[in-house]
Symmetry: C2
Subunit: 366 residues, 2 copies
């Protein structure tokens, strides 16, 4: 097991990363504020890991309240959130109760937002069970639900007390979701760590075979990078924006084809290739580096081209969706691009014709 | 005009208090992040002050989005909040847009919570138009909506960039609501400022006549007290609890008789008398001080007795409702009492028989 400390003003917390650590009561004990603990999970994760977690808590004399939600992004809405509040209030849970989110990104986002809002904030522990959630949402305190007019439009910045990333939970993760997680892992290498990129090129085949020790290393490195960025920029004003490499293109793809059709990591992979292509066209990146980016994502079994006309994605639609991205400031397009492999930067006003050309080249529109 | 600076880690802000300051664009200019400004108000306040505010913003070249909600606590719920999100998203407002809440406590709580959650937080300006909102909710960053199972159960701590308390808006406030506001003003004197209490005893008759300069002073003193407490204890762990003098009893009254029947300030007044009575029975306060407390509230035309059987409020019901108060920790009753006039303290485990006796003495049950 390795431990990473996320340092934030007043609210630092540890991330424990390791094999079967869900079974270790000692890791929980220091972070439970009282005897009242609620576990928020979903119908898919509950049969796999809920009893393990409950057994661990039982050893601490705790009988948790189980709140089992339906699975899927389409339930990441107010109605489901309200169900969490209803359960907590019916059980008369107070603000010193602890909420544990056990599941992937949707559970973490909703559980975290519920914890942020319940009686104006209750202690929160996150147990991400997908690779994407372990390397992405376990650092940064972003929580949210979707609104009919946009993804993650309603939410809060809210930090957990503790994150447990148990690599054993990845054993049951579908291949496609594992691959989607690697999109964000590769991203950390691309934006700030060329050495990690080399390491990934070497180990991606074994990582895809779920090699425990390598997974632990990849998750640790990813969380370390994100933690360093977030510690420097908690409210997303500056450097933190670099984490959105490929995301503005990616969100356009996700929204354009309808959520759930492309996984987030898949859209980010194709979106990052677009960002790399644009970086090349603007003279920052040599063509062979764009190729290297493509090969990396391909090695993780991720798409390297965005959808085209067959999914109703014309280039104007890409652009219009990108302008409505919530990272957009005052309607102007603002993209994260690559100066080199391992170094990202914010481009405040890229020429839209060039952006459209990059999209065309890196999609089925070509 | 007087200005008070609320000092919080990273997020201090000014409260301007004065006559007709709503008409001064210079007070707004430094705090508007962009040209996109939304005003959240209600059907009662809009005809009175919305055009004044819009005129002021027009002088800054801003055409605000107007979001007019139905009036009343019963609309302080998710449906109404969703209406704010819908309007902001339909207008494509981004996270650097500013939300201004123009109205009483309900508008401030909902507008603030909407600002806290919209795209994980947008700049927020508060213009409280009732005395209660000016002296209470303009400091502390508490925002919330109600849940069918409890008041203010879903919310956030979220600080405004700026608060404008225009005493001119009190001209149209119904007498009963003005009185309710004085309950909180008197509370500040009771918990930490005997001198202010003397001042209030002298000036309450003129304050009720809405004497501008005296109102400015009363609001300034109240905000100063609350700001000092909140700065020392932003997340409500210690001293901030003292602000709840009379509130655990008061919430029981509000919930027990059904929200809207008693105003919050009325319930707090009767609740504070109960707290004073209990303080007396426990040997802290002499009887003539309990009498003085009653006289103060009576001078503000506030009730000094809680409801009884005729409102279905038996003493056991009081106690049961008080145990479910969200300030309760682990089911134990925890009350704010008075050591003397001008000095409050937390009593962690008052004897329930004595509490019930105090309730009986100070209600229509007697």
């Amino acid at each position: 097991m390795r431990t990473l400390r996320v340092n934030l003003a007043e609210r630092g917390y540890p991330i424990h990363i390791g094999h079967r650590i869900l079974q270790k009561p000692d890791l929980f004990a220091p972070y439970l504020a009282g005897q009242s603990v609620a576990i928020v999970t979903n119908e898919t994760v509950a049969p796999l890991y809920l009893s393990t977690l409950c057994d661990t808590l039982t050893k601490l004399g705790i009988r948790p309240l189980e709140i089992i939600l339906p699975d899927g992004e389409k339930h990441k809405n107010w109605q489901t959130l309200q169900g969490i509040f209803d359960a907590l209030l019916a059980a008369r849970y107070e603000r010193n109760s602890t909420l544990i989110a056990l599941g992937g990104g949707v559970i973490g986002d909703m559980g975290g937002f519920a914890a942020a809002c319940y009686q104006r904030g209750m202690p929160f522990i996150q147990i991400p069970t997908t690779l994407l959630a372990q390397v992405d949402s376990s650092v940064g305190g972003k929580t949210a639900i979707n609104h009919p007019l946009g993804k993650n439009m309603i939410g809060a910045f809210y930090q957990p007390r503790l994150v447990l990333a148990d690599t054993h939970t990845l054993a049951t993760l579908p291949d496609r979701e594992l691959s989607a997680g690697f999109a964000e892992v590769i991203k950390y290498g691309l934006i700030r760590d060329r050495h990690f990129l080399d390491w990934l090129e070497e180990h991606l085949p074994d990582l895809r075979q779920r090699h425990e020790t390598l997974l632990e290393e990849a998750i640790w490195q990813s969380c370390r990078h994100k933690a360093e960025i977030v510690a420097a920029d908690e409210r997303e004003a500056g450097e933190r924006a670099l984490l959105n490499l490929g995301h503005t293109f990616g969100h356009a793809i996700e929204t354009g084809v309808g959520y759930g059709s492309w996984l987030h990591g898949e859209a980010v992979a194709a979106g990052t290739v677009m960002a790399a292509q644009l970086s090349c066209m603007l003279g920052f990146l040599p063509e062979y580096d764009v190729l290297r980016v493509k090969k990396l994502f391909a090695a993780a079994d991720l798409p390297v081209r965005g959808p085209g006309e067959e999914r109703n994605m014309r280039v104007e639609r890409y652009l219009s969706l990108m302008r409505h991205d919530k990272k957009t400031l005052s309607g102007k397009l603002r993209l994260i691009l690559l100066k080199s492999l391992g170094e990202a930067f914010i481009h405040a006003a890229p020429d839209e014709e060039t952006v459209m050309e990059a999209i065309r080249i890196c999609s089925e529109l070509e």
